[in-house]
Symmetry: C2
DNA sequence: TTTTCCAATAGCCAGCGAGTTATCGATTGT
DNA sequence: ACAATCGATAACTCGCTGGCTATTGGAAAA
């Protein structure tokens, strides 16, 4: 279940791509031109990043005339949150087991 | 503040490396040999991954005779959690602004 | 002390991926 | 119809990184 954190980690590992996603989270709907203006890389590079983000389900695109607007899909972060919770859960679980053991040794 | 999610994303993007970290979270303290046995890659590869994980603060090492034990440093995930919360926060904040606007238009 | 074992380092290679420029398709404005 | 603009695609380069084998440094066992 929820093996999909794989693609999220890979997608968000790149700083430029993550910056684009962050900007969409902060400021909402943006055209490719607007994103390119602040990305520090060329328009084709931005388009490529947006393609990867879309593939990962992190953004949606909306065509409006000759402009394309992108927006963040916040729900897509869920598997990432699940994963960290799971790691924390493993940790806690091992801690509980240790507690049990100590309790049993104590009595 | 907390720009350190950068290194976390990069470190956890690799599946082999993430699997090693997950194993340390699940099962706690492990020797390099034990980790290598299940990693599907060579011992030097595992050592390199452990080095990267250590650099990111995700694991600790403990020397015991000629064995080296590694363990997960769960607290290191905090910047990752902070980042996701921040993204969620941006989202919520924009939503609130929209609500305010609608309220003002309504009255 | 010699041999064996564990883990780290060195050195190398191959593939991937992020960047570039050039171009194309589509839509809008003249 | 023609020009201009927007964004995606093509084709290519180049650096990084994850993998390997071989070797080294230490610590335990013989």
């Amino acid at each position: 279940m929820s093996q999909s954190h794989e693609i999220l980690f890979k997608t968000l590992a790149d700083p430029t791509r993550r910056a684009i996603f962050e900007r969409l989270c902060r400021d909402g709907d943006q055209t490719v031109a607007a994103l390119t203006a602040r990305a520090g890389v060329s328009q084709p590079a931005v388009s490529k990043h947006l393609g990867v983000l879309k593939q990962a389900g992190l953004v949606r695109d909306r065509h409006e005339g000759r402009n394309t607007h992108y927006s963040a899909e916040l729900g897509a972060l869920a598997p990432l949150i699940d994963w960290t919770n799971q790691m924390a859960g493993f940790w806690q679980s091992r801690f509980d087991n240790l507690e049990d053991l100590l309790k049993r040794m104590d009595q």
